[in-house]
């Protein structure tokens, strides 16, 4: 039996959904996977769908608009804080740190100057670079776990 969290961390998508799909498949095959995934998505779908119908009307109220103005400032900090948390959990090695710093610098420059470099392009470049280093260094290279 494989560790589902290892799979979840190595594949795209939120861990909650990955686990639902995995467990659903283990318990009831393809049908189980589909129902478990649909089951975990449906509640948040309903909540957000309802909110989406009212949010614009709410924002026309002055008090709520100013409330959200403050909230949007908090969100910037939340994203920044999430980044710091991720950095502190990162492997303390030269290669990942270097890739992290270069990616941050490139992305920041792109944002500031409005260059259209998608983050996907950057991620693929990082994958290729890391794979190349791994191949050059052999199995003991920095890319392995």
């Amino acid at each position: 039996m494989m560790d589902i969290t290892v799979i979840a961390e190595s594949t795209p998508g939120p861990i909650a959904i990955n686990c639902a799909t995995y467990t659903g498949y283990k318990q009831g095959g393809i049908g189980g996977a589909i129902s478990a995934t649909a089951g975990i998505v449906t509640p948040s779908f309903i909540v957000i769908y309802l909110i989406s119908m009212f949010l614009d009307n709410f924002l026309e109220i002055h008090l709520i608009a100013s409330c959200f103005k403050g909230i949007s400032l908090a969100v910037g900090l939340l994203v920044l804080d999430a980044a710091f948390t991720m950095i502190s959990k990162m492997k303390k090695k030269k290669l990942p740190r270097g890739i992290m710093a270069v990616s941050a610098a490139v992305m920041l420059l792109c944002n500031i100057f409005g260059w259209r470099v998608s983050s996907v392009t950057l991620m693929i470049a990082a994958a290729v670079f890391s794979l190349a280093i791994f191949l050059l260094k052999g199995k003991k290279g920095a890319g392995t776990k």
């Binding site: 939120p14 995995y22 909540v47 900090l77 999430a82 990082a126």
Partner: protein
């Protein structure tokens, strides 16, 4: 064709959302701004709403954008598109390629992707914080925004020092809302 755009846009988000909840935010930002589905402000609002409601941020944002762009079916399609890649990948791995995740080449490539995502999130965070303050319209507005940001950052730091744990995202959002009402109305 908005339905097709929603599907393509959110398939892309779903395919590359490595690195947990906040790892997907720069990607979503990319997609929604490129298609003009949300403004910078609207995106912040929705991140706050997603953070305060159940469910992963990326699914919540897909539902919201789909709904605001193309009604109920837009919401259904965007949500479906954002979940499909991770669903398919997990299924493929569990059914066929049990050893694929432990493959050393795959892990080597992933070893590049993960720090890259972290760097991208860091850049996005820095950019969002500074943009909020620098492009607030007028100088007094900018100073106000900077003051609120500093107050919130101080609250986060102070809480961590005093209680030895993090201020929860929801508390920070509530605090931001209260300060917003105090400063802007």
């Amino acid at each position: 064709m908005i339905y097709l755009e929603l599907i393509l846009g959110f398939l892309k988000v779903g395919c590359f959302s490595f690195g947990g909840a906040y790892g997907a935010i720069p990607l979503i930002r990319d997609v929604v701004m490129r298609y003009g589905w949300l403004t910078e402000e609207g995106l912040s609002y929705m991140i706050a709403v997603s953070e305060s409601t159940p469910g992963p941020i990326m699914v919540n944002l897909a539902t919201y954008v789909g709904s605001s762009q193309a009604g109920f079916w837009g919401a259904v399609l965007a949500t479906f598109a954002v979940v499909l890649p991770s669903f398919a990948v997990i299924l493929l791995i569990t059914v066929l390629l049990k050893r694929a995740v432990n493959n050393s080449f795959f892990q080597a490539a992933l070893g590049g992707v993960k720090p890259c995502v972290i760097g991208i999130v860091l850049a996005t965070g820095i950019y969002m914080v500074f943009k909020n303050c620098l492009s607030a319209g007028s100088l007094p507005e900018g100073i106000k925004a900077a003051a609120v940001t500093l107050a919130l950052a101080a609250a986060m730091g102070g809480y961590k020092v005093i209680f030895k744990k993090k201020l929860s995202p929801i508390m920070l959002i509530v605090l931001g809302g209260v300060l917003g009402i105090v400063f802007y109305s």
